[in-house]
């Protein structure tokens, strides 16, 4: 088991409660930019403080580029 868990692309904007139609939600839930390079993403410190946080990471090298905004 890993101490941290990945939680997906953090740049996606979650439609607010009641907002967004089928297309918007489809786009939000099912599609990905999936870039090769810098990627801002969610992680959770699952076996620790349980904090979800943003992380910038280069998906081509796995180099950590810093925390997210």
């Amino acid at each position: 088991m890993s101490e941290f868990r990945y939680g997906g692309d953090a740049t996606k904007k979650r439609p607010g409660p009641g907002a967004g139609g089928l297309k918007v939600w489809h786009e939000y839930v099912f599609t990905f930019d999936n870039p090769k390079g810098p990627h801002e993403e969610f992680w959770q410190h699952t076996l620790g403080c349980r904090q979800w946080f943003k992380l910038k990471r280069n998906t081509a090298t796995n180099e950590i580029l810093g925390g997210g905004a």
Binding site: R5, G8, F30, N34, K36
Partner: protein, 419 residues
């Protein structure tokens, strides 16, 4: 059917050592245009080109490969073939693939070492045995071989599992598909390449596609590192890099790239005679003809393009190996490697047309790309030639998520990284 290999040709060359063997596949210069272009010289791309030439009479076909053929997942997987799928749109497709594997060495005149040694999935609870029963029943009802083994029957087949009280998860029984097995993975790429080349397909290595050309909403060709190549049919078969290539045509897809690790131990004399997988956690192992235990598990769990895995996941997979098969603790790991897989929200692939005319997509294979290779090439060739879905792959449409037709064979939910 391709021709030229046999014990007689080997003897001929042995007797006349001066006469060199011919190239397995030709290495032509790219032409300025083709009737159809397949991007990606992996198993699926090469198979697609072969069936385009063989079944659809296209004469002028190119496969464009950015590196060397077979450099992606066809040469990085754990070589398992099986058709134990229970959801409607999957079952017939994967059974077609397994049937095609049975005759593939003859079809390609290239020994792919298709070994129907059987796959056994070990169950760890009564509830899991019920879900195995559902799967097995569906297989039987679709003409696919399957049998349930109880614990005693399993112990006869696989005496080396941990049946002791100190096992963390008890063994309840198993689902067995006798026709499942393994294939020599590299041979699939080379065999399809050679057979396609014999049918006149141009296999162009070291030719990276850098752009997809469109006029309005119709494909007209591609830009490559070896120049512009025109065609009004372009198929994408670049698992691991699907998002990147599709983006050249302006498409954003339900695909995320993840690394899947695989492992092989030093070779030992035959010990494991089946493909064995486990219900406690995703884990699968078989012994190669050379003697190494080839095994793998779940993806690392976050998106990456690095083709190398993390140690924590390697350790988890090895823990599975030892927990299920204690003798594995004495085996020595020879090599660990990683392949990039296209993960999709429902764990199932795409073989389909796209919103762009003349652009076709084959990707999103998750863990199951290798076993699908023949049927994938067969149906994708149909889709590219006829601009329509083949009935066997009709469930693998791009709009299925929009329509609520997920094919979540594992029952995991809409997370790529949990599939």
């Amino acid at each position: 059917m391709a021709r030229g290999y046999s014990i007689f040709s080997i003897l001929k060359h042995a007797l006349r050592p001066k006469q060199p063997w011919p190239e397995a596949w030709a290495k032509p210069e790219p032409k300025s245009s083709y009737d159809a272009i397949v991007i990606g010289g992996g198993g699926h791309g090469l198979a697609t080109a072969y069936y385009l030439a063989k079944n659809h009479g296209l004469k002028n076909i190119a496969v464009l490969e950015k590196g060397h053929i077979g450099s992606g997942n066809v040469g990085r997987n754990t070589t398992i073939i099986r058709s134990n799928y229970m959801l409607g749109a999957n079952t017939a497709f994967f059974e077609k693939s397994l049937k095609m594997w049975e005759g593939l060495s003859h079809e390609l005149d290239f020994n792919c070492m298709v070994s129907h040694r059987g796959q056994i999935t070990v169950g760890i609870s009564p509830t899991q045995m019920d879900s195995f029963a559902r799967r097995g029943n569906i297989m039987r009802l679709n003409g696919i071989d399957a049998e349930l083994l109880d614990r005693q029957e399993l112990e006869k087949e696989l005496p080396y599992l941990d049946y002791s009280k100190s096992a963390r998860y008890p063994i309840w029984g198993a689902l067995h598909q006798p026709r499942a097995g393994t294939v020599r993975h590299d041979a699939v790429a080379w065999g399809y390449a050679r057979a396609a080349s014999q049918l006149g397909v141009h296999i162009i290595e070291n030719c990276e596609v850098t752009g997809i050309l469109k006029a309005d909403n119709t494909v007209t060709g591609v830009e490559t590192t070896r120049g512009r190549i025109l065609s009004d049919k372009v198929g994408i078969a670049v698992a691991g890099h699907t998002s990147h290539v599709a983006k050249m045509a302006g498409l954003r897809l339900p695909v995320e790239s993840h690394v899947l690790q695989a492992f092989v131990t030093e070779p030992v004399k035959p010990m494991v005679h089946h493909v064995v997988s486990w219900g406690a956690e995703l884990f699968y192992l078989s012994q190669s003809d050379k003697g190494g235990m080839v095994f793998g598990g779940h993806i690392d769990g976050f998106n990456t393009y690095t083709q190398r895995g993390q140690f924590f996941k390697a350790k988890e997979v090895m823990e599975c190996a030892v927990a299920l098969m204690p003798f594995m603790s004495r085996m020595r790991l020879l090599r660990a490697w990683g392949g990039l897989v296209d993960m999709t929200p429902d764990g199932s692939p795409f073989i389909c047309t796209t919103p762009i005319d003349g652009l076709y997509l084959n990707g999103g294979w998750c863990y199951q790309g290798f076993k699908a290779t023949p049927a994938s090439g067969f149906t994708f060739a149909h889709t590219m030639a006829k601009n329509e879905a083949h009935h066997l792959s009709a469930g693998f449409a791009l709009d299925r998520l929009m329509k609520g037709k997920e094919l979540d064979e594992h029952g995991v939910g809409n997370w790529t990284y949990k599939q």
